[in-house]
C-alpha cells in the first residue's frame, strides 16, 4: 500500500468516526439518516480502497454491495419510517447531548486502548485504524442504550453494524463474500422487521417511545 492510499485510508476512517460521533450530536432524525447514508458511502469507499490495494475483485463487489445496502436501501427504508411516524426529533434522550458527546470521547479512547493488542498482532496502516471500527461499535451500543425512539434504536443498530463492517474490512480486508452477503441480508431483514414493529407501536400507543413498552397492559 503506497503513501497516497494510506492518506486516503486515514481520511476515510476519520470520516467514518466523525459521522458516528455526529449521529450523537444531531437531534433531527432526518439529519441522522443522512449521516448514516454518508457513513455507508465512506465504508464502501474503504472497501474499494482496500480492493485497489490488494487487487481483489471480491472486495470491489463487497464495496458495491455495501454502497447499495448502506447508502441507498437502508436510508430509503428509514426515511419511510420517518415520514410515517411524524416524529422529526429525538426529543428526550436518557443522557443529554453534552454528556453524550463527552461519553463518545471516553468511548473512543476506550476503543483505542482495547484494540492495542489487536494492532500489535500485525501492525500495518489498515490495522492501526482498527480503533475507528471498535469506536463506532461502542457508539452504536451507546445510542441503543440511551435513545428512546424506535427509529433511534434502528439507527443505533445500524451504527453497530457499520462498526462491525469497518472492523472486518480493516482487520482482515473483508469477510468472504458469502458471509458478507448473509450478514447484509440479515441487517436488511432486521431493519424491515423493526419498521413493522415501529408501525405497530404507533398504531397501539400513538408514538414510538420505547418506555411505553415497559409495562403490561390490557386492551
Amino acid at each position: 500500500m503506497n503513501a497516497t492510499m494510506n492518506h486516503g485510508l486515514d481520511l476515510l476512517c476519520g470520516g467514518i468516526l466523525l459521522t458516528g460521533v455526529l449521529v450523537l450530536w444531531r437531534r433531527e432524525l432526518a439529519a441522522i439518516v443522512r449521516l448514516l447514508a454518508l457513513q455507508g458511502v465512506l465504508i464502501a469507499g474503504l472497501a474499494a480502497l482496500l480492493g485497489a490495494a490488494e487487487g481483489s475483485a471480491e472486495l470491489y463487489l463487497a464495496a458495491v454491495g455495501v454502497l447499495a445496502l448502506k447508502a441507498v436501501v437502508l436510508p430509503l427504508v428509514l426515511r419511510r419510517v420517518l415520514a410515517d411516524s411524524g416524529e422529526a426529533r429525538e426529543t428526550e434522550p436518557l443522557v443529554n447531548v453534552t454528556a453524550s458527546l463527552l461519553a463518545a470521547a471516553l468511548l473512543t479512547l476506550l476503543a483505542y486502548v482495547v484494540s492495542q493488542p489487536l494492532v500489535a498482532l500485525a501492525p500495518s496502516a489498515a490495522t492501526r485504524a482498527l480503533p475507528v471500527g471498535v469506536a463506532v461499535v461502542l457508539l452504536g451500543f451507546f445510542v441503543l442504550v440511551t435513545r428512546r425512539r424506535a427509529l433511534s434504536q434502528v439507527v443505533g443498530f445500524l451504527l453497530l453494524d457499520n462498526g462491525i463492517t469497518t472492523t472486518a474490512f480493516l482487520a482482515t480486508s473483508g469477510l468472504p463474500l458469502v458471509v458478507e452477503l448473509g450478514v447484509s441480508l440479515d441487517v436488511l431483514l432486521v431493519v424491515l422487521v423493526l419498521q413493522i414493529v415501529a408501525a405497530r407501536m404507533r398504531l397501539t400507543f400513538g408514538g414510538t417511545d420505547l418506555d411505553e413498552l415497559s409495562e403490561l397492559r390490557d386492551s
Binding site: H7, T108, R128
Partner: protein, 319 residues
C-alpha cells in the same frame, strides 16, 4: 542567532504588531460590511470602526464611583497581553526574536490573562450586567480553554514540539499533513473556539444592544472614552490574532522562513489576504445562524472539545 538575523527578526516582530494594530479595526469593518451587504443594507463602510476609535480616543474616560485599580488596569492589561501575542505568534515570519515565547501553553495563558483581567474589571464595577457578563464569559472560557489546548496539541504531536513556530514550519515542510484527519478535526475544533473566544455568533452577538443576551459587551458596559477605545481595539486585535493563528496553523503557505526582504513582504501579503478571507467567511456564516440559547452553548463547546480530543487520538492511531 546572528546579528543581522536578530535585527531582521525584531523588524518582523514590529511589523506584525503594526499590522495587527492597524489592521484590526479594518478587519472588524470588513466583517460588518460583508454582513451588511449580505443582509441587503448599504453598510457604514470598512473604515467606520477606525473612525469610531479615533472619536473615542479623544474623549475623557469616566470611572464608576467606588471602582478600584482593577477597573483602571484591565484595558491596559488586555492591550498589553494582546500586543505581546501579536509580537510572538508567527504571522509573517517564523524567525522571531524571542525563541520559546510562542510556546502553545504560554500563548494560551497570555490570551486568558487578558480575558480574566476584563472579567475582574466587570465584577469590580458592581453592576448587575457586569457581573452577569463576567459569569457567562468565565463559563465559556472554562469550556473553551481545554479545547484550544487540545486542538493545538493534536498538531504538535506530529512535530514533537509545542512551539507554534515549529508547528508552522513542520506543516510548511510537508503540506499534505493538512489533509490528515487529525488536522481537519483540530481545525473544526479551533474554529468553534475562535467563535466562542471572540464573542461572535452563534455564541454571542457582537452587535447586540439587548443587555440580557450580552456576554462580551456586558463586561465593557461601564467603559467610556479612551478606555472603551482600548477595550474595543484590543477585542478587534484578539479576533485578528486568533484568525491569523488559525489560518497559519492550518494553511501556513506564504509565511516567511528567513529574514530576507522579499519573503517577508510576501508573508505580509499572504497573511493579510488569508485573514481577510477567513473573516469574510466568518461574517458570511454569521448571516445564516441565529444566536444559540446560552444553555446550548456548553453543548457546542462539548462538541468542539470532542473534535479536539478525536484529533489528538486520531494523530496517534491514524498515521
Amino acid at each position: 542567532m546572528s546579528g543581522p538575523e536578530l535585527v531582521g527578526a525584531v523588524v518582523a516582530s514590529i511589523a506584525q504588531v503594526a499590522l495587527v494594530v492597524v489592521g484590526a479595526p479594518f478587519l472588524t469593518g470588513l466583517m460588518r460590511q460583508v454582513r451588511a451587504r449580505m443582509e441587503g443594507r448599504v453598510g457604514p463602510g470598512v473604515r467606520q470602526p477606525a473612525r469610531d476609535l479615533r472619536k473615542l480616543l479623544n474623549k475623557e474616560a469616566m470611572r464608576p464611583e467606588g471602582s478600584s485599580v482593577f477597573f483602571v488596569a484591565a484595558p491596559v492589561v488586555l492591550m498589553a497581553t494582546t500586543l505581546l501575542l501579536a509580537a510572538v505568534i508567527p504571522f509573517i515570519s517564523t524567525v522571531l526574536p524571542i525563541p520559546g515565547a510562542d510556546d502553545l501553553f504560554a500563548v494560551v495563558a497570555v490570551l486568558m490573562l487578558g480575558t480574566v483581567s476584563l472579567t475582574l474589571a466587570a465584577l469590580d464595577t458592581g453592576t448587575a450586567f457586569g457581573g452577569m457578563g463576567a459569569s457567562r464569559e468565565v463559563t465559556i472560557l472554562a469550556l473553551a480553554e481545554p479545547t484550544i489546548l487540545l486542538a493545538i496539541f493534536a498538531l504538535s504531536v506530529r512535530v514533537g514540539s509545542s512551539d507554534l513556530t515549529d508547528i508552522v514550519e513542520g506543516t510548511l515542510a510537508s503540506p499534505t499533513q493538512v489533509l490528515l484527519p487529525a488536522s481537519l478535526l483540530a481545525a473544526v475544533a479551533f474554529v468553534v473556539v475562535i467563535i466562542a473566544e471572540t464573542g461572535r455568533l452563534p455564541v454571542d452577538n457582537p452587535s447586540t444592544h439587548l443587555e440580557l443576551t450580552m456576554i462580551h459587551e456586558a463586561m465593557a458596559l461601564e467603559y467610556s472614552g479612551r478606555d472603551l477605545a482600548m477595550v474595543e481595539l484590543a477585542s478587534a486585535m484578539r479576533l485578528t490574532i486568533l484568525l491569523g493563528l488559525g489560518v497559519n496553523l492550518f494553511l501556513p503557505w506564504g509565511v516567511a522562513t528567513s529574514v530576507a526582504v522579499l519573503p517577508m513582504l510576501l508573508g505580509i501579503g499572504a497573511v493579510v489576504v488569508k485573514v481577510a478571507a477567513a473573516a469574510a467567511l466568518l461574517a458570511a456564516f454569521e448571516v445564516f445562524v441565529a444566536k444559540l440559547r446560552i444553555f446550548r452553548v456548553p453543548e457546542l463547546l462539548a462538541g468542539s472539545f470532542l473534535f479536539a480530543l478525536l484529533a489528538v487520538s486520531a494523530s496517534f492511531f491514524l498515521r
